[in-house]
């Protein structure tokens, strides 16, 4: 029952006027960002980070705001999936499969309500899981020594790309680029400036926030410019917004199953919300597609992936907070903010700053309630705002990113750096190279090097310390197993596509 009193204290932190205000604002902005096609959770959070920075909120308030945005995006993504057949963000792709057909059949109100309730169920289950498991994991991680942390970081880089499809070499290369960028600046241990090219702006190193705003937000604009703005479909007209409650109740098991699957997917490294919703949909389809109604507007096909992506989003916070190793793109961005505010997530966070951890947990409970209200009775607002044309939205977003980054340090050099990273991000995305490992490398590189050097100082230069503890050995075994699996899958896919090309040609 210790957890209850901790959460109780958390509510005291969360229920200050500033934090409630930020929470409501975050929920609203998040739902809107999720609903607007083109702006997903990573971009949304990346754009807002410099602003929280510039306004000088304390870490707890900043984290509450950004997590509310993060959760809000997960709720909002479904709106455009259902009404436009365009996912508002990546995790909402699966919701188009059954959500849009439902809307076409005149069931838009029901589809929106089912997905709203499913989001609430998934996110709430994930927050309960977060309250229960994160402290346990943190307590276990207290026993990690420097060599074990080094092994944990290696595991994080090996797994961040996920198992699905992409060439694992590209993922690892992206992580290596991030680690390389992390070594720029004055070496904190010896005081030697490295790779600064005698530019004094680089002596402090590359600010992860500036890099990731460029990588995600600026590259998104360049990517959007490839598409023609004219070919956007019209939204399905909705005559009545009141759902039938009798339509929601039969999907309860799909919601619970989806939440369970999504939560597990979220906690695992390298998965995140997209995999969570995918797995929840596939699982539910296998379970209940007896009559072949999935893909043609089955309400359970809306409930499961929505519960799944929200549960995964919450689950992904667990490794980020308790180990300091994020499991997804958005949590990597949140980690960047915490590190920039001098908060080091990890096992000690739970002991040193319980206010931050439990204030956040309490806020997430509140955010779910606020989001349920925003997403059921007030859904009409978002469907109207969602139709803001891209040509009007993106320039303003661009201007806000420039202000935000400039606001951090009043430095033109930072803006130039951001544009540079925007171009780099665009090229890498075109080449199908994930940006998340790069961000993770840039974020964790400094710590990874420090832990390695600390371990080597302890052993006085004996490399065998890296595999001296059972913790690090098991982490390396996991890493090797994971890499072997992803290489095997990549080779198999490669062969398959070659075979397909041969049979087609």
């Amino acid at each position: 029952m210790e957890v209850l009193s901790l959460i109780g204290n958390g509510f005291l932190v969360a229920l200050t006027p500033l934090n409630i205000g930020l929470l409501l604002m975050g929920c609203f902005v998040g739902t809107l960002l999720g609903a607007l096609p083109g702006l997903g959770p990573v971009n949304g959070v990346a754009v807002l980070i410099p602003l929280t920075f510039a306004f000088g909120f304390d870490p707890t308030s900043s984290l509450i705001l950004l997590c509310a945005v993060y959760f809000g995006c997960m709720y909002g993504g479904r709106i455009s999936s259902i009404l436009l057949n365009i996912p508002g963000d990546e995790p909402a792709i699966m919701t188009t499969l059954d959500g849009y057909p439902m809307a076409v059949q005149g069931q838009a109100a029901n589809a929106l309500a089912i997905s709203g309730v499913a989001s609430f169920v998934g996110a709430t289950i994930a927050v309960i899981g977060l309250s229960l498991f994160a402290p346990v994991l943190a307590r276990a991680a207290i026993h990690f020594g420097p060599a074990d942390y080094f092994a944990l970081y290696i595991l994080a880089f090996a797994t961040i790309g996920g198992i699905a499809g992409v060439d694992p070499r590209k993922t690892l290369l992206s992580a290596a680029i991030g680690l390389m960028l992390a070594t720029v600046g004055i070496d904190p241990i010896s005081g030697v400036p490295r790779y600064t090219m005698d530019n004094f702006h680089l002596y402090d190193g590359i600010q992860p926030i500036i890099a990731l705003v460029g990588l995600f937000a600026i590259s998104e604009i360049l990517l959007l410019l490839e598409k023609s703005a004219k070919d956007r479909p019209k939204a399905i007209k909705v005559d009545r917004w009141m759902p039938q409650w009798s339509a929601i109740w039969p999907t309860r098991w799909a919601m619970l199953r989806g939440s369970g699957v999504g939560f597990v997917a979220g906690v695992l490294p390298g998965a995140g919300a997209s995999l969570g919703s995918f797995m929840a949909y596939v699982f539910e389809k296998q379970k209940s597609n007896g009559k072949g109604t999935f893909g043609k507007g089955d309400p359970r096909g809306v409930a499961a992936p929505e519960a799944g992506n929200n549960a995964a989003a919450g689950g992904a916070l667990i490794p980020m907070l308790s180990l300091g190793v994020p499991g997804s793109g958005t949590t990597a961005v949140l980690l960047a903010m915490l590190i920039s505010l001098n908060v080091q997530p990890g096992p000690l966070l739970f002991e040193r700053q319980p206010d931050l951890v439990w204030g956040l947990v309490a806020s997430l409970y509140l955010a779910n309630i606020a989001l349920l209200v925003l997403n059921l009775p007030m859904i009409g607002i978002f469907t109207r705002l969602m139709m803001t044309p891209t040509w009007a939205l993106m320039p303003v977003v661009a201007a806000i990113t420039f202000v935000g980054v400039y606001g951090i340090s009043n430095s033109i050099f930072d803006l130039e750096l951001m544009v540079f990273f925007g171009v780099l991000g665009y090229i890498m995305r075109k080449l199908d190279i994930s940006l998340v490992p790069l961000v993770l490398g840039l974020l964790l590189g400094g710590d990874m090097e420090r832990n390695l050097r600390r371990a080597m100082s302890i052993s006085d230069g004996d490399w065998s310390i890296l595999i001296a503890s059972p913790i690090s050995i098991s982490l390396y075994v996991l890493t090797i197993g994971f890499l072997a699996l992803s290489v095997w899958l990549a080779v198999r896919d490669h062969k398959q596509s070659k075979a397909e090309r041969l049979t087609e040609g």
Binding site: A54, F55, D167, R169, K170, L172, L173, A176, I177, L179, M180, T183, D187, I189, S190, V192, R194, Y195, I218, I221, L222, L224, L225, E226, S228, A229, K230, P389, T390, W391, A392, M394, P395, V396, A398, A399, I400, F402, V403, Y406, G407, I412, L415, E416, V419, G422, V423, K430, L431, D432, G445, M448, E449, L452, R453, M456, S457, D460, G461, H494
Partner: protein, 146 residues
Amino acid sequence: MSGLSVRLFGAAVFAIAALYTLQSQTYQITFGDVLGPSVFPLIVGIPMMILSASLVIFPTGEVEWPGKDRLWRQAVALAAFVGYTMVMEELGFPIATAILIAVVGIVMGGAPWRAIALGAVFGPGLWALFDQVLGLPLDFLGTLFG
């Protein structure tokens, strides 16, 4: 030739990784830390060279670059971004931002007069929001206008 873009990217990263690895050997210290500042860059740089070299030899994935009609839009947007960083302090925030929004709005496919109107509203509007309401100091008039 298939995978040319990936090969080129791999070659560029290989060159950078090689320079990075070489350069690390100049960071030597004589006392204190056992490992020193040069070993971690080696641990990063050498696998990076191997990975990028393997992408040059065995590239994967096809890339479709945008056609000319799209490429110029990206070039203009990029020029607007870079231009913004150069003239922001001279022109002051509202004017520079209005131009940025208008240019990006036009290349995104908005009607020119609408994009200009958008910039005219949001340039000063964002300044008022951030500088006046939220207390983030931004220059109203740049050095050019005193």
